[in-house]
Amino acid sequence: MQRIDFTGIRVAITGGTAGLGLALVREFLGRGADVAFVARNPEGVVRVAQEYGRAHGIVGDVSNKEDTHRIALQVLGALGGLDVLINNASDLGPVPLQLLADTQCEDLERALATNVVGPFRLTKTLLGSLAAAARENRGAVVLNVSSDAAVTPYPRWGAYGASKAALRHLTLIWEQEMASSAVRFISFDPGDMDTALHRAAIPEADVSSLKRPENAACEVADVIAAALPGSRRESNAAATLQTA
């Protein structure tokens, strides 16, 4: 199937130097989007920005309140506006995973700061730009990366699962509240992937049974394309017909 083109679409991705985030940077660049990515580690940001020349790297920590507007300013400065925000950066909570009874409060707080409060702040700060894009009929999408742990209470996944459940619930409420502004909110579970986060959670997992982040990134791009205004889907449908 032909991949839907994102030329001219401005995309920001948090947690963009590893795992699914890095795969998303590559996927959206490959589809022609203008991409800015955020990560905490300055060396990682420089490395990815150098490897993929067209991507704008931003050093920042989404869990840190002070960084919120610094990140937003650089995203908007680099891209001149924003159509798609992907809140991908995640914190697993205690590593190795712990029973809730053995979980340090600080580990829970960090998971909530990175997985819930951080995406909330960044979304709120960038909402003006996203709504402006929607008013200009470009469409606007916020995709929050979720997990099956957000719906199923797996033992030892308490900090992560509770934070992802909260993020998923926020996403569903955002989607209802912003419907009149035409900013779409999507909660997306990419499934179990072969990433550093998954290895930290389940070191003994059989890698061959895990999804490749590249495949999940492609699914994310297709889900977002489907939520952008109709012309994009129709032009793709036309392209698909031509190739058929």
Binding site: H69, G77, A78, A132, S180, S181
Partner: protein, 351 residues
């Protein structure tokens, strides 16, 4: 008037002085502002986000401390951030009123400035020892990162604690283009934006790079506002022409919206989409071509914002407004109360 000293964008007790077309004045709670508009109106707000435009650092030739306040940029193009017009102060900070701030070391073309991780050169002075064109070195990404990480919002001596950047962004803030907040937009919450649609009132935005409102120097203040770039989206230009064709009114949220729209319409009364540079100064002699009503903060006599109101109402109405604002304890400045002024149906006097 009283200076608003708390950085709360929508205080529960905010007041509104509503000035009707016939010159009739009415005091209302500010939350009523949507109620006094009419179905079929078009509300236009400035969605400029505010830059942290205050950069502290060192004037390298003299090794003396300075504060640079970015004041204007020629373009809204995100990649064109290498040149800024700036006002330079000597040592000290916002706790000293701008009127009393020390002058900068004598600035000369070619002087190097170190501002956190940013490096700038004085390209030339602009007919005043405090006002200079600065050239910033580095890629656009490096300059944005330097401003984002090192800059602080321009602070006000009348506000007790330092403003955080989130205090200066309105709910709809989008393009980082303003040097001080387009603060009339603080009336907007997302619930308010929703309530406009529910009343049959359209909502649109433009981006106007609101510059510094005051420098503390009478000679410089007389030159304000500086030229300010703006951008009018196609959907906004279309909405304006549709609403005007239906005899609806154009309601500007803030003086910056008035300046952008009237500047754009200067040539032939029509508002084209696209970018422009507002040079127009609006005052008693300006014949407004687009804007029918203005929701704004309260402004003190002698400021360029106050002067702009004279394009909307005759002097005698403005005098009565000022009396009422004083008598009823309205708060002024960025986080203060508001006025909603309909363009007068009365004859406007000359200057």
């Amino acid at each position: 008037m009283i200076a608003a000293s708390e950085p709360v964008q929508r205080p529960g007790d905010a007041k509104l002085l509503f000035v009707r077309r016939n010159g009739f004045l009415e005091h209302r709670p500010r939350e009523d502002w949507v109620r006094v508009l009419q179905p079929g109106d078009l509300v236009i707000a400035n969605d400029a986000a505010t830059l942290p435009a205050s950069l502290s650092g060192t004037h390298l030739p003299s090794r003396r401390a300075i504060e640079v306040r970015l004041a204007a940029r020629r373009s809204l193009e995100p990649t064109r951030v290498d040149h800024f017009t700036a006002i330079v102060f000597g040592a000290g900070d916002f706790r000293t009123r701008t009127e009393e701030r020390a002058p900068p070391p004598a600035l000369t073309a070619g002087d190097e400035l170190e501002l956190g991780q940013l490096h700038a050169t004085v390209e030339r002075l602009l007919d005043h020892p405090r006002l200079a064109m600065l050239h910033f070195r580095g890629s656009p990404g490096e300059i944005w990162a330097g401003i984002a990480r090192h800059g602080k919002p321009v602070q006000y001596a009348h506000i007790a604690k330092p403003l955080a950047i989130f205090d200066t962004w309105s709910a709809i803030a989008a393009s980082p283009a303003a040097f001080e907040p387009p603060s009339a937009g603080f009336v907007l919450s997302w619930a308010t934006v929703g309530s406009l649609a529910a009343r049959g009132i359209e909502f649109a935005t433009l981006t106007h790079a609101a510059g510094l409102s005051s420098t503390g120097d009478p000679r410089l203040d007389a030159r304000l506002p500086l030229d300010e770039p703006y951008n009018i989206p196609t959907v906004t230009a279309e909405a304006i022409s549709r609403i005007r064709a239906q005899n609806g009114r154009i309601v500007a949220i803030g003086t910056t919206v008035v300046r952008a729209l009237e500047d754009a319409a200067w040539a032939n009364g029509k508002v084209p989409a696209g970018r422009g540079l507002a040079r127009l100064r609006i005052g008693p002699e300006t014949r407004l071509r687009v804007v029918d009503a203005l929701l704004s903060g309260t402004h003190e006599n002698g400021t360029s914002h106050h002067e702009l109101l004279r394009a909307f109402v005759p002097r005698r109405v403005l005098l009565r407004m000022d009396e009422q604002l004083d008598a009823h304890g309205y708060r002024t400045h960025e986080f203060g109360d508001s006025v909603l002024v309909e363009r007068s149906g009365l004859r406007l006097e000359g200057p």
